[in-house]
Amino acid sequence: MGDRVVGDTADIRRRLDEVGYLVDEGTASALFLALSLGRPLLLEGEPGVGKTTAAKALARALDTPLIRLQCYEGLTVGEALYEWNHQRQLLAIRLAESRQDRLRDADLFTAEFLQERPILRAVRHDGPVPPVLLIDEIDRADDEFEALLFEFLGESAITIPELGTFTAKRPPIVVLTSNRSRDLHDALRRRCLYHWIDFPSPERTVEILRRSVPAANEPLIRSAAEFVGRVRGYDLDKAPGMAEAIDWVSALSALGATELVREDVVRTLSAVAKTPDDRETITGALDQLVGGARGATA
């Protein structure tokens, strides 16, 4: 790429920090390489480690629009790339008939009748900084959809048969996320850089919580971070991620808690435990969990 958007790994880390997103070295390197090599980045990791947030924060840090494509089964060209405005085309045909004009294909398939969908919008974006295109939860789309993406991911271009090929002036910054509910095709992986985001370390969790829930006080944050770390060790249906931890600490501090007490934990447990089974497991182990956390902070 000719014009560099960011200087180096430390630079992107600092800029993400400024918009309130703390990254570890690995994630910072991944984002930096994706930016400077102009390659799409595939982010994988447990639910709630901040994959989607990474893309959002990147857009804010670079001060560029975030274009989001939520994937689902049955996603087609019409929803992801472009669609012809058939209704307007039909109207144009009627209009031409009433004027006794003769219409040719070229008159009907022009940019005027083209409806942009997220990917085409990202390709045609005109600005000093390329937009961030977030293709969220690509594993939820079916494998037919992956094939649609190949031209775009490889060449930042989209070919519309009736109109021609659109190539991005500056390749958009593409972030794909996946929860691994389905194995992605090798052809898709080959076109992307790959990064696996781990659960943040306890110290980083504390930092993130401090940043996300400024109202909460220090002992509460510390013991909550430790509590969540321990809970992940239990056999749960849905282990609490970073998002749940933030929700939970917000809930605790909204209730005016200043440290982790059993009653408050029980009242706010629904922010951490997302199934009845998990609720039961955590309630059963509460004595060790809370007692241990208090012992560690004392």
Binding site: D8, T9, E25, G26, S29, A30, F32, L33, S36, L37, R39, L42, E44, Y72, E73, G74, T76, G78, E83, W84, H86, Q87, Q89, L90, I93, L103, D105, L108, D142, E144, N179, R180, S181, R182, D186, R189, R190, R191, C192, L193, Y194, H195, W196, D235, L236, D237, D277
Partner: protein, 400 residues
């Protein structure tokens, strides 16, 4: 990471040579590194010249590795090259297996059974018992192997213990043919067709080009049906020794035709889908056998059900037909199994339990594990011969 030993890391190093050498090492350890990735790495070194080994690590990892499962091998190679640590090479590291010549399974010759005990060259999971009752099998000594349908039909009723390896393969193919009318689910993808209910505007506008832009033909679209996902869990513990090979063939048939996810377990869970989908049945079964490290150990059904639910493959259980092949002898707590099965039942569309003992006269599911799991199963089916396996498949295909 040890401290930086090279001042300004990689001064004057030929980046291309480094990248190619590293890629080559990774490939030898089974990480499939493509040319694109190698190029990315070189460009990555250019845009961010590494100051430390950890910088270099992240650049290499992000450009070379494409899936989570490759991370371990990558870390080992990286540590060996740059960490100054020589890790012991894994003796089992992905030995290359040469596929047998002529992978055409359906017409492979079936050796006539001999009176002697066959050597250990067969399936490593099964110590073949001496075949004494020749009259029960359809083969005669010295005969040219005949592949008549009736042969297969006859073989299908022979208990697993008395089948040799090739016969099992032939029967595996026979099962594969049975997986045809598979239950489907309605997907959100649409296709045009005369039976559709909705008018597809895009296709109609396209068609109207032929009629002077008059939408004369209305093109309709309807949702596409997709095969319902199947997840099969197969017990390969000591008590299931006789059935293990046959169940592998059934899992292979399901994985190939119905795109099933298949797992084997004894004390721990092993995913066999990639291994079993090999073109040749013999190689597939051999690969699968090699992958399962704990075969013929004890059984921990509950722990393995929980492990499957907790892993990222747990999402594949949603809306799936789950087939569990086990005799229900479980060294875990029955309550734990009941809890796991309840969770499984909530995620799955149907749960079917195949029990090799269920065909015995007077069978009652009194084994603690079986009794605990039964309330959460839609069906308990016998599975002691290939015919009964086929009946399981028929049963599944009736599910709507």
């Amino acid at each position: 990471m040890p401290a930086d030993r090279r001042a300004g890391l990689l001064p004057g190093v030929d980046r291309a040579a480094l990248a190619v050498a590293l890629a080559d090492r990774l490939r030898r350890r089974g990480v499939p590194v493509g040319f694109t990735a190698t190029e990315d790495f070189v460009r990555g070194l250019e845009v961010s010249p590494p100051d430390s080994v950890s910088d270099l690590y992240w650049t290499a990892r992000i450009t070379f590795v494409r899936r989570h499962t490759e991370l371990e091998a990558f870390d080992a190679v990286f540590a060996a090259v740059f960490g100054g640590v020589v890790t012991a090479l894994d003796p089992n590291a992905r030995r290359r297996r040469v596929p047998e010549p002529g992978g055409d399974d359906a017409f492979a010759p079936v050796p006539a059974p001999s009176a002697e005990v066959e050597g250990g060259g067969g399936l490593p999971w099964v110590t073949l018992p001496p075949v004494t009752a020749e009259a029960e099998t359809a083969f005669t000594a010295q005969a040219v192997p005949e592949r008549l349908p009736s042969d297969v039909e006859g073989l299908a009723d022979v208990p697993f213990e008395q089948l040799d390896e090739r016969a099992a393969e032939v029967l595996g193919e026979w099962l594969r043919a049975a997986v045809a009318a598979w239950p489907t689910r309605r997907s959100r993808r649409t296709a045009t067709g005369p039976r559709g209910r909705r008018v597809s505007v895009r296709a109609t506008a396209e068609r109207s080009r032929r009629t002077g832009w008059e939408p004369f033909h209305l093109v309709r679209e309807r949702p596409v049906d997709k095969p319902r996902r199947v997840v099969m869990l197969c017990d390969v513990s000591q008590s299931m020794q006789a059935q293990a090979a046959a169940y592998l063939h059934m899992m292979r048939a399901l994985a190939l035709v119905a795109g099933a996810e298949v797992f084997a377990f004894a004390t721990s869970l092993t995913r066999l889908t990639p291994a079993l989908t090999h073109r040749s049945a013999a190689v597939a079964v051999e690969q699968a056998t090699e992958k399962v490290a704990d075969r013929f150990g004890g059984t921990r059904i509950a722990a393995n059900v929980h492990a499957l639910l907790a892993s990222h493959h747990g999402a594949k259980l949603r809306g799936a037909i789950v087939i569990i092949g086990s005799d229900g002898w479980d060294s875990d707590d029955p309550e734990s199994l009941a809890a796991g099965m309840a969770r499984l039942r909530r995620r799955a569309h149907r749960v079917i339990w195949m029990n090799p003992r269920a065909s015995a006269p007077g069978f009652e599911p009194t084994v603690a594990g079986m009794a605990a799991a039964l309330p959460y199963c839609d069906r308990l089916l016998p599975a002691d011969t290939f015919r009964s396996l086929r009946q399981v498949i028929d049963e599944v295909s009736r599910i709507r």
